[in-house]
């Protein structure tokens, strides 16, 4: 019996997806997990993997729009006879624009589920307003009203649910195996996540590594972040709950600003501070890039902004960009980050100033910066006084830990 390959549901409110490209041809053997085809929805473009191993047949043509759950191809075992597509309906059935009118108005449960999504989200004006204020994407809200309508109470419940854990244990914390001595806490930058430390981690493995995902990023829930102080307080609570006597802090960009704020308020617990292209040392920041990244719903709109992050744009390969887009496929996450960008960087300006904190630092501190950084000007590093070590890198952009992981890793390993 051949295995059905279906159009997956990747967005909460997705009704159908368009096959953009097949990575395999009819008759080709594919393994489970191989990239099989690319789809595009209203909100995202993404790659779909083969659900099983087998020989690919009955492919829906590229460019076809297919309802979720409908087959797009079939995978046959070797030697299995390939006849007509197993389903009665043609595999590449077009999504009907509207259900055909019936002479008898019999209810049609099969259609009922699909119609709300096809018509767009049902939400009351008040619910929409609450969601806007709370930075919640309505697509992430389950409507309890008639026909799945989202009402104010549904949004309020979600806001409450996401606000509640903020009292403790809210943020996703992941740890690398192994390592001894004083742990290293890694704080990633805006619109990134803990996985972005991977290239740098081989150089730091001798220490226990603790990665924190910022709210609305990676594995952390969306939390209301009205301003930088609220975000810094959240990181401070998270640090307190880690219950560490001493820790090294490594922060990149926004994570650098948060590391600096944490070191300022918990000086006795901080062994050292490493700030990579940190925010908070001056007003300038590339607001267009922040907006561009948070708004991007597909590869084509995301990739140009990803290339701006680095100096050597060739390191932003299609595969890398696709991986980033896949990580950002959740519209709720994108909406949360857009809200956070608006709160932290209104009008494309860094609305928080940590220069005084920098001047007060007691822990040994290093600032690392690429001199080709197009997001935050490296000259902000010149705010550092006295004992702060400054490392500037030629031909490096805003992501030194990704652009030159070995060089950065060697430097960090010597001190941590």
């Amino acid at each position: 019996m051949p295995t059905e390959v279906i159009m997956p549901k990747v967005d909460m409110d997705m009704a159908s997806g368009t096959i953009m490209a097949w990575h395999a041809e009819a008759g080709q053997m594919v393994d489970a997990g191989d990239p099989l085809f690319d789809i595009e929805t209203d909100k995202a473009a993404m790659e779909v993997e083969a659900p099983a191993s087998g020989i690919l047949h009955h492919l829906a043509p590229e460019g076809t729009k297919i309802a979720i759950g409908e087959p797009v191809a079939w995978l046959y075992a070797e030697g299995e006879e390939v006849g007509a597509p197993p389903s009665a309906a043609p595999a590449a059935e077009e999504v009907p624009a509207a259900p055909a009118p019936k002479e008898e108005a019999a209810p049609e449960p099969a259609h009922a589920a699909a119609i709300p999504a096809a018509e767009g989200l049902r939400a009351t004006p008040r619910a929409r307003g609450l969601a806007r204020e709370g930075g919640i994407d309505l697509a992430a809200v389950a409507g309890t009203g008639p026909r799945g309508r989202i009402q104010a109470g549904d949004v309020a419940a979600l806001l409450k649910a996401s606000a509640a854990p903020a009292q403790g244990g809210a943020l996703s914390i992941t740890r690398a195996k192994g390592g001894t001595g004083t742990p290293v806490i890694l704080l990633h930058g805006f619109a990134s996540d803990a996985a972005s430390w991977a290239p740098l981690e081989p150089a730091l493995r001798h220490r226990p590594l603790i990665r924190i995902d910022l709210p609305g990023h990676g594995g952390s829930p969306t939390l209301p972040i009205p301003d930088f102080a609220a975000l810094a307080a959240l990181i401070r609570r998270t640090f307190t709950e880690l219950d560490l006597a001493r820790a090294h802090l490594v922060g990149h960009s926004l994570g650098g600003a948060l590391a600096l704020a944490l070191a300022d308020t918990r000086p006795r617990n901080i062994e050292s501070l490493t700030l990579i292209a940190p925010a908070g040392l001056g007003p300038e920041i590339d607001g267009a890039a922040l907006t561009g990244i948070t708004r991007a719903t597909r590869l084509e709109s995301l990739a140009p902004w990803l290339r701006r992050l680095v100096h050597d744009e060739t390191i932003v390969t299609d595969g890398y960009a696709r991986a980033v887009m896949t990580a950002r496929a959740d519209p709720g996450l994108r909406a949360a980050q857009a809200g956070m960008a608006e709160a932290l960087f209104p009008d494309g300006v860094q609305a928080f100033d940590l220069r005084a904190a920098l001047a007060r630092l007691q822990a040994p501190t290093r600032i690392l910066w690429g001199r080709r950084d197009r997001i935050i000007p490296w000259r902000h590093a010149l705010e550092a006084k006295g004992a702060v070590a400054l490392h500037l890198f030629e031909n490096i952009g805003h992501l030194p830990q990704i652009e030159a992981p070995e060089e950065i890793g060697k430097l960090l390993a010597a001190h941590l």
């Binding site: 004006p125 619910a127 307003g129 009203g145 008639p146 009402q151």
Partner: protein, 336 residues
């Protein structure tokens, strides 16, 4: 109300309160005259004018011939030439016969003559169903007249407002149409003594609530209060707004309530289609209060049908308390 000396408050019926207002006006202002069919010796079709003819004589309380067009025309002309006539229709349904005088003359003359004149006429319309008077004597036509620029249209729902709105109407320089619900004439309620105004164009919040706003007119305001009390037992707190004036409508009171509750139920006896509730709904939908709506607006109005003679059917074609309870509960619980 007079702030200097607090007037005594008695319990009067709605009809008595109207009669008292006319009595005060007749006594204080010799320009005031009453006109209408059988309002003299007979005392009016619903006994509202009562024995006023004995007190003020037939020059102040005038029986008019059985022609609404003729009587209304005399009243409009009298208003134009300096009197303050109160013209009573036997049934509001007979407004149809006097439309020329109401719509083309009373409402238009100030405009047509460049503001040189005004038409301070008051017309009283016994309206609504529930008396077994069948299709030609039971209608609620306030929306018809509410559609005419130049007219003010009020619908008192309590004895106090019936008196206060009539006295306010007499002091208004322009034509004011008062729709009195026939089933309310016997309603008892507190009425202050002496002269006072219930402001035209100002709604009354009859009951404060947080879960939904019920905007109702005339007898439906009373039914809405009863429904809200019933709903209160199950924890649904309805705010009841008695519109009191349908033209000009009290926009601010309605919008403020909807902003607070996020849910709007309009209840009115007139035919639902193109009725007062349609205007209230549109006013909310067009305003900033729209952003506060958490459910579709719901209207309960009269059926798209003539009022039947059969008493059970007569009840069935206009909203009743259980209908309001059901609609309000569904709305408040997010079931609509």
């Amino acid at each position: 109300m007079n702030a200097e000396n607090t007037p005594e408050v008695r319990t009067l019926s709605y009809a008595e309160a109207i009669r008292e207002a006319m009595d005060i006006a007749l006594a204080e202002d010799e320009r005031v005259v009453l006109m209408g069919e059988d309002i003299g010796v007979y005392g009016g079709a619903f006994q509202v004018t009562g024995d006023l003819v004995e007190k003020y004589g037939e020059t102040r309380v005038m029986d008019t011939p059985i022609s609404e067009l003729g009587g209304a025309g005399v009243a409009v002309g009298a208003a134009l030439t300096g009197l303050r006539p109160i013209f009573e229709f036997q049934f509001s349904d007979f407004a149809t016969l006097a439309m020329e005088q109401i719509v083309n003359q009373a409402a238009k003359l100030r405009y047509m003559l460049g503001g040189a004149v005004s038409v301070p006429v008051v017309m009283r319309f016994p309206a609504g169903s529930g008396t077994g008077a069948a299709a030609q004597h039971s209608q609620s036509l306030e929306a018809w007249l509410g559609h005419v620029p130049g007219l003010k249209v009020v619908q008192p729902s309590t004895p106090e407002d019936a008196k206060g709105l009539l006295l306010a109407a007499l002091d208004d320089p322009d034509p004011v149409m008062i729709f009195e619900h026939k089933l309310l004439y016997k309603m008892q309620g507190p009425v202050p003594e002496g002269r006072y105004h219930t402001p035209i164009g100002k709604a009354a919040i009859r009951r404060v609530g947080s879960d939904l706003s019920i905007v109702a007119t005339s007898i439906m305001a009373q039914k809405a209060i009863a429904a809200a009390d019933e709903l209160g037992k199950s924890g649904v707190e309805a705010e009841v707004i008695d519109l009191r004036t349908v033209r000009p409508m009290d926009r601010e009171t309605v919008l403020a309530s909807v902003r607070k509750t996020g849910r709007l139920l309009c209840v009115y006896e007139g035919v639902k289609t193109l009725g007062v509730g349609a205007e209230v709904s549109a006013m909310v939908a067009e305003s900033d209060a729209f952003d506060f709506l958490d459910a579709p607006i719901v209207r309960l109005g009269g059926a798209d049908a003539p009022i039947p003679y059969n008493p059970e059917l007569e009840k069935a074609v206009v909203p009743q308390v259980p209908d309001i309870v059901e609609a309000a509960a569904a709305l408040a619980q997010g079931r609509t």
